[in-house]
């Protein structure tokens, strides 16, 4: 009797784990494009809470993004890309605008040439801003064997208003400065999100519609 209950409980836990894994799998999807690895995170909404409040108060709010790629094990970092975006909300048109501030390249130096340009888009919805920001972060896939296991992690942080000022500039933010920021835990009250995907194989991703597990 007790054994059957324990078995039932374990089965429920396994089922729950499976559901959570499936849920998590939908959070971060990996998409190879040319020599770069792009991501999609349809469930990630960072225009919320205090950041949204600041935006609705007419302030530009910066967000830092870091995308990490590890090979063979989770801890073996292969490439990393960091970007800073400044989002603002048009008080009259009630639409969002976003500017990519950083001109950083990845550690491998092979990220899209577009990332070296300061670029803005406007008249976006909140979802549109989130999609645009995430869609512009990428890491290099060159040198990865098709059957090699890899993991991907996306970190997003809102930037403290006091911290953002000296980092804003006409040349944007350096990769080393952003990576340094991500090497510290988020401050209390700082909004942050972390999404993981993996282990994955490129050979699986080449098939259309394949998602991270």
């Amino acid at each position: 009797m007790i054994r059957s209950r324990i078995c039932g409980l374990l089965a429920a836990l396994v089922l729950l784990g499976g559901v959570l894994a499936a849920w998590n799998a939908d959070d971060l999807t990996v998409e190879p494009r040319d020599d770069e690895m792009h991501i999609i995170a349809p469930r990630l909404h960072f225009l919320t809470g205090t950041s949204l409040e600041r935006l609705k108060n007419g302030t530009a709010v910066p967000f830092d993004f870091q995308l990490s790629l590890s090979l063979d094990t989770r801890t073996n970092l292969y490439d990393r890309s960091a970007q800073r975006y400044a989002v603002s909300y048009d008080l009259w048109e009630e639409k969002y605008s976003v500017t990519r501030l950083s001109s950083s390249s990845t550690l491998r130096g092979a990220t899209s040439r577009r990332s070296h340009e300061r670029r803005s888009v406007s008249h976006l919805s909140a979802d549109g801003v989130e999609r645009w920001c995430i869609g512009n972060v990428a890491v290099s896939m060159s040198g990865i064997a098709p059957g090699q296991l890899f993991w991907v992690r996306l970190d997003v942080r809102s930037v403290d208003p006091k911290e953002s000022a000296p980092l804003f500039g006409d040349t944007g933010v350096s990769l080393s400065r952003l990576i340094d920021l991500f090497s510290h835990p988020p401050r209390s009250g700082q909004q942050h999100w972390t999404l993981d995907a993996g282990p994955l194989r490129l050979s699986d991703l080449r098939k259309p519609g394949t998602r991270g597990s």
Partner: protein, 411 residues
């Protein structure tokens, strides 16, 4: 190359801010600036001017953050949040600085006055204030050779309650303990004058007052002053007086005519036997100041008058010829004993940092008057009438003229 140089210069001169490129709202014009949660009378005139200057400009979040910091400092609140909203007309925005959630700062150090007069020396007052709720406790030290006939040095402390049940009522208790230093010319003149009371060595004052906001911006303060004068270890006298002050302070802001402020006050101090005073006298004083700021121009016109009837102690006497009245004159040359009646007027004009001023006044000591005296000067003053002043002033008279150098702020 020239274009690059020009661009760099433009950035330096006009303070180009790359942050504004990233905020889509930076293309909108500010149509109004409000400070929420603070009475407009609490906002210093200079700060009010800076806030007004934002109106008509494109939205600049960096500037708003700097102004928020200034409001935090000047109004002594812990937090100021900036809200930008749609304005009254399309493509315009309204800026609100919200101080409502700002708790009063716990501790503050201030220098209410620092002045140098080349004939009378330095004057300095420093205070430290700690605030708990709406009660502020201040202790300070002063050495003042400017305000009275004598130099008085010592300590002062006060406790203030900003509201008592209602914001219309404020209470204050002040304690002062000063030692006096008399100029030799005063001592010599006193020896020849038989009508005056003695020259005290020290004095101690207990001074409770209440202030009622009758109708903004008109306030009425009333209280008593228990002042003990010590002439020798065995000789003390009391100058206990009831006092009443009416004050009116109003600021007008108008984009076309600039910012104007009117500050008027009338004070009455009456020492009577009923308060167990050894001195019986009545002292009246009235002040009027008008300020106009427009663009880089600033005009200050001030008038003051006062009179004493009865037998009053030396600290009540009027003085002209210091760092703020009859500039160019030395008070000990005008009358080393001060006067029991005085009238004074001054006009200050400032363009950017350059300032010129003209003072005129008369001092009476009994039936004897100094005659109408005039002084003028030129110098540099930073923002506002309380800003740093460096000036050379001259008495307008025939014969030999010695310039007087005046420096300092908050006077």
């Amino acid at each position: 190359m020239r274009a690059v140089l020009f661009f760099c210069c433009a950035v330096a001169v006009f303070g180009w801010n790359p942050q504004e490129d990233i905020n889509v709202n930076s293309r909108y014009t500010v149509d109004r600036v409000n400070v929420v949660g603070a009475a407009s009378s609490r906002i210093p005139l200079e700060l009010r001017r800076e806030l007004d200057a934002v109106v008509g400009q494109k939205l600049d979040n960096g500037l708003l953050q700097r102004l928020a910091a200034r409001i935090r400092h000047d109004l002594r609140v812990q937090t100021v949040s900036v809200h930008v909203k749609r304005g009254q007309i399309p493509d315009h925005v309204t800026v609100e600085f919200d101080t409502r959630n700002g708790r009063s700062r716990d501790f503050d150090v201030d220098i209410p006055k620092l002045a140098y007069h080349s004939r009378q020396g330095f004057t300095g007052i420093a205070e430290a204030t700690t605030t708990v709720g709406n009660t502020a406790v201040t202790i300070g030290a002063a050495s003042d050779a400017d305000e009275l006939v004598e130099r008085f040095s010592g300590i002062r402390a006060r406790i203030e309650r900003q509201s008592l049940g209602t914001k219309r009522l404020r209470l204050r208790f002040e304690f002062e303990n000063y030692h006096e230093q008399w100029d030799p010319s005063t001592v010599n003149a006193f020896a020849r004058d038989t009508t005056l009371t003695g020259l005290d060595r020290s004095r101690r004052n207990f001074h409770p007052t209440a202030t009622v906001v009758i109708a903004k911006p008109l306030t009425w303060s009333f209280g008593v002053s228990f002042e003990q004068l010590q002439f020798s270890p065995a000789h003390t006298e009391a100058a206990n007086a009831a006092e009443s002050t009416l004050r009116y302070h109003k600021t007008w802001e108008d984009g076309e005519s600039g910012t104007q402020a009117l500050d008027a006050g009338y004070s009455l101090r009456a020492a009577t036997r009923m308060l167990d005073s050894d001195y019986v006298y009545v002292r009246h004083s009235a002040k009027l100041r008008y300020e106009l700021h427009k663009g880089r121009n600033e005009l200050n016109v001030a008038f003051a008058a006062g009179g004493i009837s009865g037998r009053a102690p030396m600290f009540e006497r009027f003085v002209l010829g210091n760092a703020s009245t009859l500039r160019g004159w030395n008070k000990y040359d005008l009358d080393p004993l001060g006067g029991d009646r005085a009238i004074h007027g001054s006009v200050d004009y400032r363009y950017r940092f350059a300032t010129v001023f003209y003072d005129t006044g008369v001092l009476w000591n009994g039936p004897v008057a100094t005659g109408t005296k005039r002084g003028a000067g030129i110098g540099f003053r930073s923002e506002g009438k309380d800003g740093l002043l460096l000036a050379v002033a001259f008495p307008l008279r025939s014969g030999h003229v010695d310039p007087i150098f005046i420096a300092g702020f908050n006077f």
